[in-house]
């Protein structure tokens, strides 16, 4: 089996969309996970619900909401267009945003569990040894919650690679811009002679997903952590 240049373009695009989406989401997801794990503020339950919304909504609806917000006439999309001449519509950046939004709840959940598992008595010990809040966070809380960060990254990455519904309804199916692996497979399924393409791209999907799981296990074991995905 050899991959065609079109296949490679789809793979490169999918990896770019998933990696950019997940890496940009990482600090946001960690901040949200920390706030939800530790914060006691009004509206916390509402924030929790909003973060989890993409997990329970039909992805097509999530994509439609993104279209309303980030479309050229939407409140955020219109502002980006006027201020920076920047648009997400029909671009790979829009696909990355859709992937990020869909991956966010999974990433937040994994990281939150890990932050909640950090023994707060250790933070008290660090404070009594002279570490301020910030140093305590950097040297105790963050390293001890790293297994959840790795797990969240891998889950988010795998989810992003598989993203379909929100992407296709938000930024459509544009070759080279928004036609990621699942959308390319869907497109090939519609063609009378697309069977060979479907098989090739499906095998690529299986390989990438398995690879992500193996990398995650390796990272978790190296950390000596217990937050296994497998």
């Amino acid at each position: 089996m050899t991959l065609t240049p079109d296949d490679w373009e789809v793979i490169r695009l999918s990896l770019k969309v998933a990696i950019v989406g997940v890496v940009l989401t990482l600090p946001i997801a960690f901040g949200l996970a920390y706030a939800l794990a530790r914060g006691r503020f009004p509206g916390r339950i509402l924030l929790d619900a909003i973060v989890h919304l993409p997990l329970v909504l039909p992805p097509v609806v999530t994509g439609w909401i993104l279209l309303i917000l980030f479309g050229r006439n939407g409140p955020i999309g219109g502002w980006l267009d006027r201020m920076f001449g920047f648009t997400l519509m029909f671009r790979w950046t829009g696909a990355a945003l859709a992937a990020a939004v869909m991956a966010l709840p999974l990433m937040v959940r994994a990281m939150r569990l890990s932050i909640e598992a950090v023994d707060r008595r250790l933070e008290g010990a660090a404070r009594s040894l002279g570490a301020n809040r910030w140093r305590t966070f950097l040297t105790i809380t963050l390293p001890l919650s790293l297994p959840g960060v790795w797990a969240g990254l891998v889950l988010g990455f795998a989810r992003s690679l598989g993203e379909f519904g929100a992407t296709i309804s938000f930024v459509s199916n544009i070759p080279g811009q928004t036609r990621t692996l699942p959308i390319a497979i869907y497109t090939a399924l519609q063609l009378p002679d697309g069977d060979a393409t479907v098989v090739r791209l499906a095998l690529v999907s299986v390989t990438l997903s398995l690879g992500a799981l193996v990398v995650s296990e390796w990272l978790v074991r190296r950390q000596g952590g217990r937050a296994h995905v497998l």
Binding site: R121, G130, L144
Partner: protein, 203 residues
């Protein structure tokens, strides 16, 4: 005066109220378990906020009169009953965690020698026995440039021979470094041997 403490705190159904002042040396808080001894240490360390009261050590107000210093500014060397070594740091990094606060009256080499830690430095906390971990925790507190020590049942997980050695070490800290020590125990023999002042806590 070293410790001047007069605090009250309600925790659930239990009202903890204690007032004492003591001179240099070892002040023992002696009483049955559940009488709030650990809570008193936590209030002095800044890890638990009293409902009302005053805490001063060595003439410096840590709490009261509108003052509430954060734990990192209180310069306590706290040896916890539950040890609390950082599990992601080896023994050496645990020992040096508080050393960023400035030079202590004792050096790393002295502490290693005093507590018999030389062969433990490159070990992870989870591989240490209870007594070994407790010795590392005592060393960590001593190396954090403390102005006073809070020791919560530091000998509880040690066998008698090692407990005797550590008591000798605590006497040396008391006599040579002149650090005021607040020492929690329910063991009469420890208290009799170490304490210059005894505060009895009733439930």
């Amino acid at each position: 005066m070293s410790f001047e403490v007069d605090v009250a705190k309600r925790l659930g159904d239990v009202e903890i109220a204690v007032a004492f002042s003591s001179d240099a040396g070892v002040t023992a808080l002696f009483g049955p378990s559940g009488s709030g001894k650990t809570s008193i240490l936590n209030m002095i360390a800044g890890l638990l906020t009293p409902d009302r009261g005053q805490i001063a050590v060595g003439g410096e107000t840590l709490f009261g009169d509108g003052v509430d210093l954060p734990p990192e500014a209180r310069h306590a060397g706290y040896v916890f009953q539950d040890v609390r070594l950082f599990p992601h740091l080896k023994a050496r990094a645990n020992l040096l965690y508080g050393a960023a606060r400035g030079r202590s009256g004792v050096s790393l080499d002295e502490v290693i020698d005093l507590l018999g830690l030389a062969h433990l430095l490159d070990r992870w906390p989870r591989t240490l026995s209870g007594g070994e971990a407790q010795r590392v925790a005592i060393g960590r507190a001593l190396l954090s440039n403390p102005r006073f020590l809070l020791m919560d049942e530091p000998l509880a997980s040690l066998d008698q021979a090692r407990a005797d050695e550590i008591m000798t070490m605590i006497e040396r800290v008391r006599d040579q470094l002149k650090l005021p020590i607040l020492y929690v125990s329910h063991n009469r023999a420890e208290v009799d041997r170490l304490a210059t002042t005894v505060v009895a806590i009733r439930r």
